[in-house]
Amino acid sequence: MTNTSVMAKGLVQRVGMAGSTIDYRKGDDGKKKVFECDILDHKIGIQKIFELLTSGEDAVLKSLEELGAVGHRVVHGGDKFSSSVLVTEEVKKAIHECITFAPLHNPPNLKGIEAVEEILPKIKQVTVFDTSFHQTMKPEAYIYALPYMFYEKHRIRRYGFHGTSHRYVASRAAKLLGKPLETLKLITVHLGNGGSVCAIDKGKSVDTSMGHTPLEGLAMGTRCGDLDPALILHIMKEYELTISEMDNLLNKHSGVLGISQISSDLRDLEEDWPKKSERANLALDVYSHRIKKYIGAYIAVLNGCDAIVWTAGVGENSPIVRSIVHGQMDWLGVKLDLAKNEITWRGAEGEITTPDSKVKVLVIPTNEELVIAQDTMDCINK
């Protein structure tokens, strides 16, 4: 793709529930308009998107004929997909088979594909998987130390997520560093609501902190991340919790929210930092310590590191977390430029280390939509 520009963007929320809405804006930074409408299912949602694109004052297309292809994000591709692919019957079947890995995400992803199919039966569609980038991991990185039968029979292994984002910022980092991606060892830190760290050697993912589900690894907004698995059994027994209660405890009541009891949003904890409260500080410290630990581990896995890249909501906008993580990392070759760290946020891109820092630290705003568009273009031109 030689020339990319955003014609329109938007978001459909609360499909099938009361009070569903569509956000829509023309162009990359047009005025956001929120439409309230009854979106009973994904097909109606996609119909409404197509309507907004082709009619009304903010229309950007004369007709749907102008669309060349539709790209979809699909959360879990299991070990069946190591790259983005054109949608076929087999692909749909495979996505269906991966529902057991992502019961909340894959079904709506599939519904989106089928809805487009119904409205535009002839259009080409492409799926971009969150997991496919990590398919280059070797068995030593993805096999759990559980009876091997679980892997053989149920494909229980580590998959990793946020692949689209890790892949995008890695290639963008190579551009900023002015070196070919194939010569670089990178560690990318994607911190949004969920968070994961990825070790990338020559452009390929060799390890990542999320596992079979997005619960493993870092401490997140409301997710616990790495944990002594015996604790799950102990807590369930002690409090007589059901499976769904324990599931909620780990996914929705833990992380920085669980520790601070203030908020799952890092911005709330960073207000007045470090004077807000001891627990807010503790939550930030636990959050940051875990990231530091993974960076250390991945420097060992990669046997070196050219640059560490921060991205997504928290990664792009939290000089505080970045300063806690990179404080006292000079032995590993990281020297943070505190002034640069402070001003690089809110969409800014750039290096935040001193010129003599052996390992560079970069902040790069992620752009998953762009990757989806580019992959879609590549797949239909194949």
Binding site: M17, L241, S244, E245
Partner: protein, 305 residues
């Protein structure tokens, strides 16, 4: 509202639990009770149950807000016309249920499904005076409804396929496994559990074993969540007697003849958790007190207190 709204009639325990389960599953719910006081108590208890879920990490406060926003209350039966499905949870007596079904039948569009949560009364009997009995069906939920992933569905003589299929779809929507029987009062669960409770009471009555021993033996021996006497307290001792009498009238099977002690307890106000005493004693929080099982030698005094 509209298409997705479910109406629950009756704000007692079963009604509260059903409202909680249905609203948690994402449906809009209207809880109706003719008594404003019972309605308000019912709604308050639903909120308390959601708070208890939060305390056990089962819900987040954001999710609770969303659930509460889906629940409305009313004392006007005409509100039932707003639902595509109405489920009644009134007292287990034929007259009461039949009367309500007649009123709902006249209030709701003929396409609205009217379901009864009755455990022991034939749905055909309940719907006998309805003009459109083809849209009636029995859906028996098991308490505590938010936790038990089961609903027994029973078709009446005139229930049509569309009604039956919608009921099965609804069960799936609120994450319950549906087991279906054909117009069978007592379904599977009530029919099989009642003789067990009845026998357990007789074992106690004859002085063979204490409450605790009976419950422990059955719980551990057969992997049950609760022993039969604790279960009777949970269901309500009076309700157990109601169920037994209904099923005896239906089947003339001796195993449904209520044990004498059951009736004695009811007369003395020992109705289970809801009255803080039954086969065991309970604190105001509904939790069983330690070593509070009814003693055989105290039986005569206990029931005459």
């Amino acid at each position: 509202m509209g298409q997705k709204t479910v109406v629950i009639y009756g704000a007692a325990t079963m009604g509260q639990e059903l409202v909680q389960a249905v609203a948690t599953a994402g449906c809009e719910v209207i809880l109706i009770d003719h008594s404003e006081e019972k309605l308000n108590t019912g709604l308050k208890k639903v909120e308390a149950a959601l708070d208890a879920e939060i305390a056990r990490w089962g819900l987040t406060s954001g999710e609770k807000r969303a659930i509460i926003s889906r629940i409305k209350g009313s004392t006007d039966i005409r509100e039932a016309a707003k639902g595509w499905l109405v489920i009644e949870t009134l007292k287990e007596t034929l007259d009461v249920k039949r009367q309500l079904f007649r009123e709902l039948d006249a209030t709701c569009r003929p396409s609205t499904i009217i379901a009864s949560n009755s455990a022991t009364i034939s749905i055909t009997e309940i719907a006998a005076e309805c003009k459109y009995p083809e849209r009636t069906i029995a859906m028996h939920f098991q308490s505590p409804i938010p936790k038990v992933p089961l609903v027994e569905i029973s078709r009446g003589q005139k229930t049509n396929n569309e009604t039956f299929e919608s009921a099965v779809r609804f069960a799936k929507m609120i994450n319950k496994n549906a087991v279906t029987v054909y117009d069978c009062p007592g379904f599977i669960t009530t029919r099989i559990i009642l003789p067990m409770i009845n026998q357990a009471v007789k074992v106690l009555e004859e002085g063979i074993a204490s409450c605790e021993q009976i419950d422990t033996a059955m719980k551990l021996g057969f992997g049950l969540n609760a022993g039969p006497l604790a279960l009777a307290d949970k269901i309500g001792v009076d309700t157990v007697v109601f169920y037994l009498e209904n099923l005896y009238a239906e089947t003339f099977d001796q195993s449904y003849l209520p044990a004498k002690l059951l009736k004695k307890l009811v007369r003395a106000g020992y109705k289970g958790i809801k009255t803080s005493k039954g086969f065991y004693r309970y604190g105001s929080d509904g939790l069983r007190l330690a070593a509070s099982g009814l003693k055989v030698e105290q039986l005569s005094q206990a029931v005459h207190q």
